[in-house]
């Protein structure tokens, strides 16, 4: 097990933690009645555990780990569809490495590869495009997966394929958006959320305004944050200060990278290539309206779902999640990973049952890696 990393700059961290404590006192937050702040981004979850921020902050603050890891929220049915495409003999299936170990109903992409499917891990959709150029006799499918940070790269690749008339390239589109699941969580009567730390690199693309509804419709603050530990602490402090002052605004702690209105080239590519699906299934969260993207009619020739008649193009289908898996409850903050009966026993990073243990950015994997595992080990 890795150890929680020392702060390389403990002085400003200590000062920020002291200020966080003072604001929590002003709010009247205690261990029994804590303020709940959700970090949405899986990268933030990872950083919180890596640097032990959850233990450094006073007990009046509780982090709730949100659904911001695209690998973690990928439902089993979509993994099954990946495998169905990948096992076609004419297909070279290309994917980011993160998705390789996510369990499907029968197997993961890793297992399908071992069984002989031509599945290749790529760093970029540009690699997939190049594979398509070099293998004109094969169908090259790219597994498009990720939030708004990744979405434009797939869009630009589809545009490039269209420009070149690269007919043997297509995308199995599983791109999802951050704002819609937040709305779904806020509409959930079981959720207790007092504020949000927003994902910085998503906002580098979309800017800060897609979150306006959180302040306007729900009266909750959100601060877009960088992912260095000091960024996170400062963002938490900014959220708490808003709560203490009775404000609910969307603020930008990460202005050195995040422009208020996002990146215009990325946004134009997204708008050109995709449209919202009526609804999209999330692991643990179910169907969420308008939360996923599909490829527009104009780019239909590069849509793997249309090309292979699979997925949403083939009509509704639903696959149950594995029995005993509590990923949904963990992702909505209703259960801590260590409270799951499978944690560390039936579900480990080596043999994951649910997606939150598969990705290093998942809350369960972070708990397991940075010390939470001990709490779940049976006493001997």
């Amino acid at each position: 097990m890795k150890h929680v990393q020392e702060f390389r700059d403990p002085k400003p961290a200590k000062a920020l933690i002291a200020r966080i404590g003072a604001v929590l006192d002003r709010i009247g937050a205690t261990a029994e009645k804590p303020v709940h702040i959700m970090e949405i981004c899986g990268g933030h979850t990872h950083a919180i555990f890596r640097y032990g921020l959850d233990k450094l902050v006073p007990p009046g603050l509780e982090f709730i780990h949100g659904p911001g890891c695209p690998v973690c929220v990928l439902p089993m049915s979509r993994v099954d569809e990946c495998i169905e495409i990948a096992e076609r003999p004419e297909v070279i299936f290309t994917t980011f490495g993160d998705a390789m170990r996510v369990p499907g109903t029968g197997k993961s992409l890793m297992q399908a590869k071992a069984d002989g499917a031509d599945i290749r891990m790529v760093y970029s959709p540009l690699d997939a495009l190049e594979i398509a150029r070099r293998n004109p006799e094969r169908e090259v499918v790219f597994f498009g997966l990720g939030f708004e940070t990744t979405t434009p790269s797939t869009a630009l690749s589809i545009q490039a394929a269209a420009r070149e008339g690269l007919a043997n390239f297509s995308v199995f589109c599983n791109h999802i958006t951050v704002p819609h699941p937040i709305r779904a969580l806020l509409d959930d009567p079981h959720m207790v959320l007092d504020g949000f730390v927003g994902p910085g690199h998503v906002s580098m693309v979309i800017g800060v305004h897609p979150y306006d509804f959180i302040a306007e419709d729900y009266g909750k603050p959100l601060v877009v944050a960088g992912f260095e530990p000091l960024d996170l602490l400062q963002s938490v402090l900014m959220v708490l200060e808003q709560i203490a002052e009775g404000r609910a605004e969307i603020e930008n702690q990460y202005a050195r990278v995040v422009p208020e209105h996002g990146n215009p080239v990325s946004l134009a590519a997204i708008a050109d290539v995709y449209e919202a699906r009526p609804s999209f299934e999330w692991r643990g969260l179910g169907e969420i309206d308008a939360s996923g993207l599909r490829i527009r009619e104009a780019y239909r020739a590069w849509d793997a779902e249309e090309k292979f008649g699979i997925g949403y193009a083939a009509g509704a289908r639903s696959v149950a999640e594995p029995e005993g898996c509590m990923c949904g409850a963990v992702m909505t903050g209703r259960m801590k990973p260590v409270a799951c009966p499978q944690f560390g026993t039936g579900c480990t990073p080596e043999m994951p049952l649910g997606a939150l243990m598969v990705s290093s950015e998942g809350a369960c994997a972070a708990y397991y890696q940075y010390g939470g595992a001990r709490a779940a080990e049976p006493a001997e």
Partner: protein, 104 residues
């Protein structure tokens, strides 16, 4: 998978396709610069950008690049990205090489 890694743009390689060579933690990799190109592509040479899955997504200053890289190393993300780049190179070579690289 949603974190970008800083890289320095060192040479424009294909103007029509908006491609440039970037140096990412000492590793050279062709990246697409469409999202950060506001003028002549040549003007990007020497600049730092956050690179995400092969696309320069945002220009950053050198100091921010150094701090970000240090944070990514702390999280193990820098190594993961470099490994993903190597895997991408291997994938271009075909399934046999791909499998070999993995077992190496």
């Amino acid at each position: 998978m949603c974190l970008g890694i800083p890289g320095q743009i060192i040479e424009v390689t294909d103007e029509a396709r908006m491609m440039a060579l970037a140096s990412v933690s000492g590793v050279r990799r062709e990246v697409n610069v469409a999202c950060v190109a506001t003028g002549a592509l040549e003007d990007l040479v020497g600049q730092w950008a956050l690179i995400h899955v092969g696309f320069a997504m945002s220009l950053i200053d050198e100091d921010e690049a150094a701090k970000t890289l240090e944070a990514l190393r702390g999280l193990g993300e820098a190594q993961e990205t470099l490994e993903a780049m190597a895997a991408g190179d291997a994938a271009l070579a075909g399934p046999a090489r791909d499998a070999m690289e993995e077992s190496a």
